[in-house]
Amino acid sequence: MTTVALMGNPNTGKTTIFNQITDTYAYVGNWTGVTVEKKMGNIKHSEIVVTDLPGIYSLNPITKDESVAINYLLTDDADIILNVTNAGQLKRNLLLSIELLEFGRPTVIALNMIDDLKRSGIYYDINTLSEKLGCHIETTNARNKDGVKELRDELLNMPADELPDGSALELNYPFMVKQAIRQASEKLISAYDMKPAFARWVAIQYINKNKIIRKYAVKNDLKPLLEQQGYYDAQNFENKIFNTRLSFIDETLTSATKNLESTKNVEMTSKIDKIITHPLLGLPIFILIFLFMFKLSFDWIGTPISDQLDALLSGPISTYADKLLISIGAMPFLRSLIVDGVIAGVGGVLTFIPQIFTLFACISILEDSGYMARAALVTDRIMQMIGLNGKAFIPLIIGFGCNVTGIMAARTIEQPKERLITTLISPFMSCSARLPIYSLFVAAFFPKNQALIVLSIYFLGIAVALLMAKFYQVIFKVKDSTVFIVELPKYHIPRLDIIWRGTWDKSKGFVKKAGTIIFAGTVLIWLMSNFGPAGFVTDIDNSFSALLGKVLLPMFAPIGITSWEAISALFTGIMAKEVISSSMMVLFHTSSQTALIAAFGQMFTPVAAYSMLVFVLLYVPCFATIGTIKSETGSTKWAAYSVVSSFVIAYAMSFIIFQVGSLLF
């Protein structure tokens, strides 16, 4: 059986590669001493076992979790090391690679995300790299599965029994360091029966102040090292080792770099970053960018196009459909079901496509230009101030698209407690499904400040999520927080095809939902508003939806919701948040946004409308999200807790906003 240790910096696509080269995998308990799960997999039709180790920046661990990797090298006998690197950040990634190459096991380095590197105008000569580093090198693009097959074949062609003893990389350290390494390793080989490569590696790591190796030396009483500790530290060998490694990397990369485009891009990136990630300016810029995004979606592009679609739907389409149905002899109830139900509800929601499309296009541009990584960095500062980890921000940003994907993304968080916290706060992020109802309400009550109001709702969601995270952190007693380091890719002009793909990927879900759950929700609310305890009703006031809404009116009055229609719509919103707006269309028998907006005017004050928006933002997550929380946490208890807690939080926030707002305005 051959064992492969998968190692690399965090966020290099290590896990993606792991999933692609292995066919079956299992969590086999936790690593000793830490709460990080141990994951192992098999390469198909082979005896090769791959172990996915937690991402690290160096073999010298900063946190307890990071000690897993070096302990693995010390205790388990990995036959091959697969080192996944981010090709775009090779300079930093190679620092770890050198430590692994010095270990002396046969090593394959995967230059992942190679496409991003090519896009930045740089490419490395693989042969030169391979020669300088003395190992196999494969280029991959795990996201598109490029090069993964070759990588797999490379591993398959390295059967254990024929493996050469792999010659360890030997850097040209300064004379004093070299001498210290040589003397120590010679003694380790003779007195402790160590293999030469291992002895050398242990000596280098010891001199380099690796905490785990220092403990290892004490435990195994490695006298040649322990006796010299004072000398090594006094001579500051640690810095000398680091500098040698860095200049080796510089030299290697310089000789391997091909077709280097002008360094203008690098200069430009650092100039832009000085402003965008500025400690004081960073956050206001982040807010301004989001405001600009909402301005485009609601004021400048989205809403004007949406209005045109709405006019088309509520005018010619509805009238034509009604006439057609009359001409073929459809009875009133069927006409009502099709025109007031399906067309008004499903069509009504579809008219919001322009806003959603614009917003997603903006998010795709931000992602592709390289800004999102900076956004995570900027918010990390604030999160640190309240003692949170910036890593959680990435799943949260994904949650803007859909909470389900956001919760799924929380899997990248290795600490179970931190993962649970991120899962629980994800539903507070304002997903795109809530946009139609925001759009309706801001058009009705805040026509001049549409973007600003939506922005405030989004940020309120973030604020509630962060506060709750802090609360859970205290409750769950999370102490050993992982360090958050984020890649800052170079800025580049977003590519049209990538933006289009990103926008379409995110928006097509909305269109698909219109044909499934929104359609179903619309028919359900039509049934509930046309049937009552006495059967088919002509007066909607006697319908089931009216009965349900009216019973709950006293409970919702303190938060400003005084129409039973809104309460019924909120109920159907649990199926999918878009259904809130389609239900409103059905309940008010209109497919016209203008008519709906006029109807709202009589039911809500602006303060009540804002309170309703806050309630929509925070109340019970949709079915899919509840299901995901259950499957991700593996317990119905947490799913039920999420439903109850979010309802209580939503009610409390709306109550405060409505009561205080009513006093002020």
């Binding site: 896990t15 993606t16 999933n19 079956t24 995998y25 299992a26 073929i328 002899g329 459809a330 009875m331 109830f333 069927l334 079901l337 099709i338 399906v342 859909c402 389900v404 994907t405 919760i407 799924m408 993304a409 899997r411 990248t412 499904a433 990927d505 097509k508 879900g509 909305f510 698909k512 939902k513 499934t516 759950i517 359609f519 179903a520 929700g521 619309t522 028919v523 359900l524 049934l527 199926m575 999918a576 949709c622 079915f623 899919a624 999200t625 509840i626 299901g627 995901t628 259950k630 499957s631 991700e632």
Partner: protein
Amino acid sequence: MSLFVNILIAAIIIGLAGYEIYKVTQKSKQGKCAACDYKCEAKLMADKAKKQ
């Protein structure tokens, strides 16, 4: 159009809606959103784990 056809069409629409709700609740149990076609890494992992 006869009463029967009217009722039949309405029944089909309602039946379809009922089926969609059933399908979506089933999907939700697996941790999928009605909109979600996007096979993200996390989802592939979840699917694989289930198969084992």
